[in-house]
């Protein structure tokens, strides 16, 4: 390997390790502040909340989404549900008619204008103190809203709260590994929240104070990642974003690799483009961890993920070339027996040790995330399955997102 490449690899690995250790240190520093509530809690006061459900061809899932909202443990006169059919071409509007008799449900049909226009429409047409949005492929836990509202009541400076998003009933193998990933994300989001570094308030059930939109304006069209842009905008204006790790929202993960690829491409592309749009607030002490660590860490992973795969492929291809050369000179070697075991040949490569440590730290944080999401510390073989699969497939959407960002190609929603 060329020297400069080796230094580059070490540099990127150092930064990746730095980020993981930062999260781990944050966890041990603030773990007492993390609460896991079980059962029902009562609030002293129930503020008004309006939840927008933007739908675009969601006939299959929207009914379940609506039922989950109606089942929220929250006074009905304080909670308004606004379902907006954003010009669907399927039977979404027909399905929504089942809910027209509920007093706190509003149904709206409009011309297709994109997700953000639908949510904005709902925000503009309500006067609730808190506004939220729930993607029509996601379902809320009955206790989620109350638990989120406690965060606002405890700290008047908190302007938005993201929930803990989990994968709903994973079926395909791709969904099962996303389940592991989402549990890990619960940990990462919580750590980011504790140090003020959240850079996305996800579409499934992030709750905002109305003040956010009156002060900073409504959702904007932003590279199909409106929920990221609003978080960047809030960070720019020092608006506090928190995460409520015991408010669960279940979302449907993409079923196939292709669908997952499209979703991630959109996310990473959105991340790159939003960062470029908000480059002015990067690496400035004034904007705290968000600007010093959270967003830079995203970029480190964008570089590290393809680099790691490249490195592994390089090694494997070298081995194959060597093996082919051997077979071509002396033919197949059928003596498959394990050669005399000799501890001498156990690798003593420093980079291998560093890499293994990094993987162990990641595994540990996934297990902690699992505890936050499910209440159990347990190692699951699916963690390894997730790490291997994602290491292999993530580089493809990351590279494509970089390509699209460089050549200004826009991404699609689905």
């Amino acid at each position: 390997m060329k020297d400069w490449l080796q230094y580059f690899v070490y540099g990127v690995t150092f930064l990746s390790m730095y980020v993981q250790i930062f999260f781990l240190v944050t966890f041990f520093e603030k773990r007492k502040k993390i609460e896991y509530r079980k059962g029902v809690i009562e609030l002293d006061e129930y503020p008004t909340v309006s939840v927008a459900v933007p739908c675009w061809n969601e006939e299959k899932t929207v009914e379940k989404t609506m039922h989950s909202l109606l089942a929220l443990d929250y006074p009905k006169d304080k909670l308004t549900i606004v379902a907006i059919d954003d010009g669907s071409s399927d039977n979404t509007w027909g399905v929504l008619q089942k809910f027209k008799d509920y007093p706190n449900v509003k149904l709206i049909k409009k011309e297709n204008g994109g997700k953000h226009t639908a949510v904005n429409y709902a925000i503009e047409n309500s006067n609730a103190e808190f506004v939220s949005c729930l993607d029509a492929d996601s379902y809320v836990d009955p206790q989620a809203l109350k638990r989120i509202i406690t965060y606002f009541q405890r700290d008047p400076k908190t302007m938005a709260v993201a929930p803990a998003i989990l994968i709903d009933k994973p079926k395909t193998s791709i969904q099962i590994i996303q389940k592991v990933e989402y549990e890990w994300a619960v940990f990462l989001k919580k750590m980011l929240a504790l140090v003020g570094g959240i850079y996305v308030t996800p579409g499934p059930f992030s709750v905002f104070r109305r003040k956010v939109f009156t002060d900073l304006g409504l959702f904007r069209k932003a590279h199909n990642t409106e929920d990221m842009e609003i978080a960047f905008r809030m960070q720019k204006n020092h608006y506090k974003i928190d995460q409520c790790n015991d408010a669960f929202v279940y979302t449907t993960g993409p079923k196939s690799v292709i669908a997952l690829y499209k979703q991630r491409l959109r996310w990473i592309y959105g991340f790159i483009m939003n960062t470029i749009d908000y480059r002015g607030i990067l690496l400035k002490r004034e904007y705290g961890t968000f600007s010093l660590l959270a967003v830079p860490a995203g970029f480190v992973s964008i570089v590290a993920v393809p680099l790691l795969l490249g490195l592994v492929l390089y090694k494997i291809i070298n081995k194959i070339i060597l093996y082919v050369a051997k077979v071509r000179t002396v033919g197949f070697d059928f003596s498959f027996g394990i050669p005399n075991f000799d501890s001498f040949f156990i690798s003593s490569n420093a980079y291998l040790f560093v890499g293994l440590t990094l993987y162990l730290i990641v595994m540990l944080t996934i297990v902690i995330g699992k505890r936050m999401a499910t209440g159990k510390y347990r190692f699951d073989i699916r963690i390894i399955y997730f790490m291997v699969t994602f290491s292999l497939i993530a580089p493809f959407w990351v590279l494509r997102a970089i390509f699209n960002a460089v050549f200004a190609k826009k991404t699609a929603w689905r």
Binding site: V25, L322, F353
Partner: protein
């Protein structure tokens, strides 16, 4: 409070809460933990490599003692009892050493001086072994087949292939002694060998029974050059069968 007001940053005064004030400390602590992980990894790796070099050195010392003792036996007795020579055959350890040195060259971060020294030592031991075996085969009328193999680490295209062939041969014929020498290793004994056998940069080069062969030689070609190899193998297999038969005889007698 006064302290904060005295510290304008870019013309503006930042009133930070305690959490933010401690931030830089955390960044620093995390940096040192990360550094510690890296340093530990390098330290452990270095220690392990040292141990491996130590292992190579100790094998070399064993071989060196073997060679020296055999040489001394030759010097002491004009007519050495030829039986004892077979006992002191060294090739197994030399082969082991060869693979370990090759591994070291491929895997140790920088070609450190120590490995370089060990490689020179190894080359000398090989040449010594070669000379000693020549002497032994003359005196005791032994059939010891050997190949001296000159390779280049980078400049040689066919050396990798030649290496595969020789490793393969050695697996099939453990009696074959292969001495591999780095053509570019700065060692006077190697220079001497090069001039005796007229080896030039046309690598790989093989010296078999005093004759120099230049360029890649396939397995079949080598087997043609040393027809004795097949005979030796046949004899070994016949011996092994005999041995088996004897064992079975003893077994049946005991019953």
């Amino acid at each position: 409070m006064r302290y904060l007001q005295k510290r304008p940053l870019g013309g503006r005064v930042y009133f930070m809460n305690t959490e933010e004030k401690n931030d830089w400390k955390k960044y620093l602590i995390v940096f040192f933990i990360t550094l510690f992980v890296f340093v530990t990894a390098f330290y452990v790796s270095g220690k392990m490599n040292d141990k491996k070099l130590e292992e190579i050195r100790s094998i070399e010392d064993t071989i060196s003692i073997d060679i020296l003792s055999l040489e001394t036996q030759f010097d002491l007795f004009e007519e050495l009892s030829c039986d004892s020579i077979t006992d002191s055959i060294l090739s197994k350890e030399l082969n082991e050493l060869a693979s370990k040195i090759e591994y070291g060259e491929k895997n140790f971060d920088s070609l450190d001086d120590e490995l370089f020294g060990l490689k020179k030592y190894y080359s000398l031991l090989q040449i010594k072994d070669f000379l000693l075996m020549q002497k032994a085969s003359e005196r005791c009328k032994l059939n010891i087949e050997s190949i001296i193999y000159f390779y280049g680490r980078e400049e040689c295209k066919d050396c990798q292939k030649q290496g595969f062939v020789l490793t393969d041969l050695r697996q099939d014929y453990p009696e074959l002694r292969v001495y591999s020498l780095d053509y570019y290793l700065d060692l006077s004994a190697i220079e001497a060998l090069k001039s005796i056998y007229k080896v030039d940069e046309n690598l790989p080069a093989l010296i078999i029974n005093g004759k120099t062969y230049k360029g890649f030689k396939s397995r079949e070609e080598i087997e043609k050059i040393i027809p004795e190899l097949i005979k030796i193998k046949e004899k070994r297999e016949a011996d092994a069968k005999l041995e088996e038969g004897k064992k079975q005889d003893i077994g049946s007698k005991e019953e």
